[in-house]
Amino acid sequence: MASAIGTAGVRPALFAPFADLAALRYDYPIVLHDGDDERPAITALSAVIDDLLASEAPPGVAGQRMRRAVRRLEGEMRRMSARGQSGTLTELWATAAGSLGERDAQVAQDLTRARAGLARDGLVVDCDQSMPVRAVTHLWRREQRRKALAMRRTIDGLRLRLGDLVRADHLRSGGGRGEGGLRAGVGTSHEGLFDFALMASLLARPSGDHALSDTRRARIDRTLAVLRDERFFATREPYVFAFDRVADALTAHEQRRAAMTELVRSIAVAELELRGAYVEDRHDAYFDRFDATALTPADLSRFPDYLVHCPPDAEGADRAMIIDALTSGAPIKVLFVTDDAFGIGARLATTAMGLGDTFVLQASAARLYAVRERATAALRYRGPALVSVYVPASIDAAGAPYLVAAAATESRAFPTFSYDPSAGTGWGERLALADDPQPDRAWPLHELRYADATLQRRTETVAFTVADFALCDPRRAGDVGVDAPERAVPIEMWLDDPDGGVPFVRAIEPDGALRRLAVSADLVRATRRAAEAWRRLQELAALGRQPVVADLPDVPGPPAAVSGAAAATPVSPVASGPAEASPDEPYIETVRCATCNECTNLNPRMFAYDGNRQAYIKDVTAGTFRELVEAAEACQVAIIHPGRPRDPNEPGLDDLLKRAEAFA
């Protein structure tokens, strides 16, 4: 299929095994599922088929037959998709099943049975030029719907409850208590049973004041109007948030900023009003000065994000604005699609990483499905995000964009990485290269098997470099066209030792002949630049993985008095206990007090409750030893200890001392 890539039909030597992609089960085409439930938004066709067979195929021979039929159908659908036939999963299924079923009734029956288990539909998209924008827009739309649903519920709830306040106010007003209002309240079924005029005269003077003051009523009306007329989450005439030009998105954001601020203000006012917590003296001044600077990132993140799709043929000026937009503070998600892995656009993501607070995801179209979770994270991220995707320009009708895009990733010309500022503070935590092949090596290594001139099998371990990838790019046709001389070295070795001769890459002719093609100086420079860029990414991703600072020395723990459960328990202002009291002093085991009021009723000046409503001796001079002993006897939990009498002349002391012995 992919026979005519690059100059004169030559292809990278490692492409030799991939003649017909449609015969392979790989990540594409993908299905963009309808619906907003928790299930994945995007699934590979092969995964859909696997799931379907796991649930539908019966055990035994019948199951084996169904699996074979459905796999043939999958191949047919893949071929249709590669030919550019678009449609939903069920449409493609119907077409493919129709052609397969015509030839074999048993196959038709198996496919019909399997089709019954196909629970979810969605658009089938192959790895072509339109795929990145379709897939990312699909994810973005789903994310926006999720946000809108949550906010719609909030706003509707606030409107309903504010409406209840206004309604209750009306019912208490003169109009509500008048004859007409009362009649409307009862309805027509039983209105003959009541004398509304008499009721109105009885209710003419209600108890209490009017429920809402005029200023409060006006504030609620204003808030209701804003909540009703907002267009951020409205189902009628909502704002548009997807744009093709960065400048348009920024202008729209700028124009809507005041409305957004007003909406946040109104939600805050409504929430305070509904809790009865709006204090005019304090909140009026705050809300009078309320502007966009008061919005927190968390509040902003509840609003829709702007999606800008910057296509490969975007004007240079618009592309230049991307960095401006990402630093503007606008909630903007840029999808940048480039078809030139050697161009300046391919380095945009690396540049954006330096901005610090921008979520950056770079992936070729071939890897976009594999990193779909990262793409969702980028769209959910509270801040600007850039998704940079390489998709090859349409080469010719027989081209396989998936293979070329995969080669861009494999060759490090367009490595896959994500930079998530919310993942941590260091580069190592934020930057992830895990989706790249053989990420610890400079170039991925593969085995190349071929037959030499004497028809002997030879195996070589070769690297797949940017120079190999250049064979797939028509723009680079002039850089690898000449056969390399005898004394030439593979480019990956030549980069380590530039004096070794002429660098070459391995290519195959359409007829399968292996050639060694010399690499131009310009392509060598591009290869070296890509190698350096890749090494930088590796280094940045490794930063912070090792502890930079040695483990801190052991810090002494907090003093015993404030550690452990004792510190967690609220400390009562006065707590007397056996530990600190002398046997002569009266005391109460305060923590065991069951608040039974016995002692405090006996002498409230002598016994009192602490902050936890547990008793302590507030003033021992405010009562007699007799009262202490009586309190000890009355105490339900026996925690009062009378100690020794303070007044040796107190009447009846001998008897009291004897009674007090039980509480020593």
Binding site: M151, R153, T154, D156, G157, L160, T235, V264, I267, A268, E271, L272, R275, G276, A277, V279, R282, H283, Y286, A294, L295, T296, A298, D299, R302, A565, A566, T569, P570, G577, E589, V591, R592, C593, A594, T595, C596, N597, E598, N601, G611, N612, R613, Q614, A634, Q636, V637, A638
Partner: protein, 326 residues
């Protein structure tokens, strides 16, 4: 709260609550009554968790225990005899945002309200249930209750009660969907407070049996246990009760018990002497009825319209079928 801004504004205007903020009126319980200790523990719990009084509800039935809502400066509902739980369930169903406590007694809950009790445990709604168990009807001046010990002489059983007492713990632990069962005694306030706090934090129905003294009609009933701390066994666990140093010094009889272990909980629940004190069972993963039923779903015009449309669609199809059939 939806917005950070609202939360900040609310917090900036708040002052921390004090116990007195939750107190209203003078409790009309007898001097020395264990209900006072429960009231204090509840007020401490409200203060320490900064519960907003207007978003907190105490529901009760009838009895001494059920006077508790009168003394809490929150919303309250003093209901019918035995019906505290269904009322509380109704409140929770329509207003899941409120914190709902239920105060009930051994007569109210275990006798006339027993059916509601069993099904409330099975429904497992997010309620904190305080069973004030003083083993007697006190408000009506001493009649035997389901938990009165065998031989209790009372106005209804002058020759002594004839039946063994009901054990509310073993019954609760035998009901499907049980999610939290604990037992405390009113005279160890530290543990009482810890268990009530855990019950409040538990999402689901937390059933706390509080063994409570009635100095007026059952004087001295619990003296043997109060005078001998070894006759109380405290169930320790990092996820349950960790007694303070002062309490641990007195109540040395302690036992490690994992509240996830239902079999061990049932064995402990059956023990009457020593009295087990602590969290017997806790499983936060049991589904809650209000969530299963999606209580509190907003009835916006859109939702109502969608519901009507769905109904009308069905009607249309059936009419078409009927027409076709006819």
């Amino acid at each position: 709260m939806t917005l950070d801004i609202t939360r900040c504004l609310l917090e900036s205007g708040d002052r921390p609550h004090e116990i007195s903020d939750y107190q209203v009126g003078v409790p009309r319980w007898c001097n020395g009554c264990g209900d006072n200790a429960i009231l204090t523990a509840m007020q401490r719990l409200c203060r320490d968790n900064d519960l907003t009084p207007e978003r907190t509800v105490f529901v009760s039935g009838i009895g001494c225990s059920s006077r508790l809502p009168h003394y809490m400066r929150t919303y309250g509902f003093h209901g019918l005899h035995g019906r505290a739980l269904p009322i509380a369930e109704g409140v929770k169903m329509s207003r899941p945002d409120l914190t709902v406590f239920v105060s009930t007694g051994d007569g109210d809950c275990l006798s006339i309200g027993a059916a509601h009790w069993i099904h409330a445990i099975r429904y497992n709604m997010d309620l904190t249930v305080l069973l004030h168990d003083n083993r007697i009807y006190g408000l009506t001046k001493k009649q035997a209750s389901p938990t009165s010990p065998l031989g209790t002489r009372s106005n209804t059983t002058p020759k002594g009660s004839y039946l063994e007492a009901l054990n509310p713990l073993t019954v609760s632990l035998g009901v499907a969907n049980v999610s939290f069962v604990a037992q405390v005694v009113d005279w160890i306030p530290d543990v009482l407070y810890q268990v009530l706090s855990a019950a409040y934090r538990h999402r689901g129905l937390s059933f706390v049996r509080i063994i409570q003294r009635c100095p007026e009609f059952m004087p001295g009933l619990f003296d043997p246990w109060m005078q001998d701390p070894l006759r109380t066994v405290i169930l320790r666990h990092p996820d349950g009760v960790v007694p303070s140093a002062d309490v641990g010094r007195i109540y040395r009889n302690q036992r490690e018990h994992d509240p996830r272990d239902l079999a061990a909980a049932r064995e402990i629940a059956a023990s009457e002497d020593p009295i087990p004190v602590g969290i017997l069972f806790s499983d936060p993963d049991v589904p809650r009825y209000e969530e299963l039923r999606h209580a509190g779903e907003l009835r916006t015009p859109d939702v109502i319209r969608a519901g009507l449309e769905a109904e009308l669609d069905r009607f249309t199809i059936r009419s078409a079928e009927a027409a076709a059939g006819g």
